[in-house]
């Protein structure tokens, strides 16, 4: 558990970036408050449809902040010093990921709490919704590790923009069918649309686990792939 010492330092580092952290919490909540009145005319903006999309939007910030800290450290002499400690690539990736897990949980709790005040109704099991969202949040953190291991910190904002667009066009707050089935099938190759489908199906249609199992495994699979790729890329940077 040696990596916990580094995780603790990264946790502090994350907190020092108030701006990112504030945006990670504030922006999604603002969006939720702005968009939800429209729900009277557009069913996509009902709390049950909106909350998962807003949550994913919030998670993109996890990807940004985690990759920023890792990429900045890679650029500094501190990391070469840390790399002479007997830690393995997975230890480093754990240390840079761990601080973001509580943030993801707080984001989800805040957004769903406010959505509940706005009249969120669910036909299915909210526990399943949270499970899918939690695994999806790990996926975003995993993407952060991929970007942070590979990119310079100046390139990180581009990765952030790309992931943000993919999340929005994954159906964060509109129906993918608007763009036709071709676009939809492309977006279905990524985990974001699956996370949104699964959570919405549970809340709006009362779907159970077996109904959303395929979506669930897409999300799970991608999360594993992102972390594996992050570890792989980090390992390659360890010995240059």
């Amino acid at each position: 558990m040696r990596f916990l010492a580094l995780a603790q330092r990264n946790f502090k580092e994350m907190f020092l970036d108030y701006l990112s952290l504030g945006l990670a919490m504030g922006l999604p909540i603002a969006l939720l408050l702005i968009l939800s009145p429209i729900s009277k005319v557009e069913v996509m903006f009902s709390p049950a449809n909106l909350a998962p999309g807003i949550t994913l939007f919030a998670f993109v910030m996890l990807q940004f902040s985690s990759s920023m800290i890792l990429a900045k450290d890679r650029d500094s002499a501190l990391l070469s010093r840390l790399l002479t400690a007997p830690l393995k690539p997975k230890d480093f990736i754990s240390a840079y990921s761990l601080p973001y897990i509580p943030v993801a949980i707080i984001q989800t709790a805040l957004i769903f709490g406010i959505a509940a005040l706005l009249g969120l109704e669910t036909s299915g099991n909210l526990g399943l919704v949270f499970l899918v969202l939690f695994i999806m949040s790990l996926g975003y953190i995993g993407l952060g590790m991929v970007a942070g291991s590979r990119l310079t910190y100046k390139q990180v904002p581009y990765a952030y923009t790309a992931v943000l667009l993919l999340t929005i066009f994954g159906g964060a707050w509109f129906d993918l069918e608007v763009f036709g089935s071709g676009f939809q099938s492309v977006m279905n190759l990524l985990p974001f649309a699956h996370a949104l489908d699964a959570t919405r199906d549970v809340m709006v249609q009362g779907a159970g686990f077996s109904d959303v199992a395929v979506d669930f495994y897409w999300v799970m699979g991608y999360t594993i792939v992102f972390f594996a790729l992050g570890i792989f890329l980090f390992r390659r940077k360890m010995v240059e």
Partner: protein, 314 residues
């Protein structure tokens, strides 16, 4: 565990280790054998390949060819075993800017697997030793350059490594801090195997048991400071202090004595046999006003100039 070194007095062994960056050869087939408990200096100008060598020994860079072992562990095959017994103070100050000195030291101790109490005890000693005690609870980004540097070195000591790498430990320090850092390093002498890189002659001369002079990726001389100086001890060095030294005069003199170094307020002439009178007469014939002439002890700088034809410090 791989233990391939038969001689257990040897701490570090490299065999024809090289590193290229593209077409450029930064380190060109170096063979080193460093004993346990030895303080070994890699002395050379900027760009000589010192940092590249250190990074290969610390498992941070992959050699293009050749191998290195630390206490018998191969740096490529068994990096974790190597990392368990080494620590590095990188050339650039390497600290977590937003933590205080305590937290920085504790971070290093804990990622090396030391318990809380042990880390606390060692951190206290190191803060004391580096004179950082009174400001240990302050965020280190507010420290002066010298304090950061001292902390950076202390961070390499928390894990009590068997083999310590110090890459330019006094780079950018003021003379006073440099001297006190030398004292700290001297205190560690004999207790650990230390590899230090530097482009300061005095540093290598006063600290090292043995020195490897490195230039353009090659080791061009290796020995104790005394041996290195002895290697050119049959040389004489004459110092001429003079006003109005013209290039013409110096170039003329170079035809007889090729090893001439321009120093502040004069020149240093080095050769196996120096004819003082001849030199003085020649300079006078070139209308040089000589203030003084003297003979000088051979320094490592002279050794370097002799070996490479250029000066170590610019």
């Amino acid at each position: 565990m791989s233990n391939t070194t038969s001689d257990n007095r040897i701490a570090i062994q490299t065999s024809n280790i090289s590193r290229n960056f593209g077409d450029f050869i930064a380190v060109n087939g170096i063979d080193l054998s460093i004993n346990k408990g030895e303080l070994f200096a890699l002395l050379g100008p900027n760009g000589a390949g010192k940092t590249t060598t250190i990074k290969m020994l610390c498992c941070l860079l992959r050699p293009t060819s050749g191998t290195a072992t630390i206490m018998g562990h191969d740096t490529l095959k068994d990096p974790i075993a190597v990392k368990q017994i080494i620590d590095l103070s990188p050339q650039e100050t390497a600290i977590a800017e937003h933590l205080n000195a305590w937290e920085n030291l504790s971070l290093m101790g804990r990622i090396h697997g030391f318990g809380k109490d042990e880390v606390k005890k060692r951190s206290e000693e190191l803060l004391e030793m580096m004179g950082l005690r009174s400001r240990a609870k302050e965020q280190v980004r507010k420290y002066s350059g010298g304090m950061k540097r001292r902390l950076s070195i202390a961070m390499a000591l928390v894990s009590d490594p068997q083999v310590l790498f110090l890459d330019e430990p006094t780079l950018g320090l003021d003379p006073q801090s440099r001297r006190s850092t030398w004292e700290h390093i001297t205190e560690l002498k004999g207790k650990k195997t230390i590899v230090l890189t530097t482009h300061y002659l005095e540093e290598a001369d006063s600290l090292a048991d043995r020195i490897a002079i490195i230039d353009e990726g090659n080791i061009i001389a290796l020995g104790t400071p005394g041996e290195l100086k002895d290697s050119i001890s049959d040389m004489q060095v004459m110092v001429v202090k003079a006003k109005s030294l013209t290039n013409d005069a110096i170039e003329g003199l170079r035809k007889i004595y090729p090893e001439i170094k321009e120093v502040d307020g004069g020149i240093e002439i080095k050769a196996k046999e120096l004819n003082f009178n001849e030199i003085v007469d020649y300079l006078r014939s070139k209308e040089v006003v000589i203030e003084s002439t003297s003979q000088k002890q051979v320094t490592l700088d002279d050794v370097f100039l002799h070996l490479t034809g250029k000066e170590l410090r610019e």
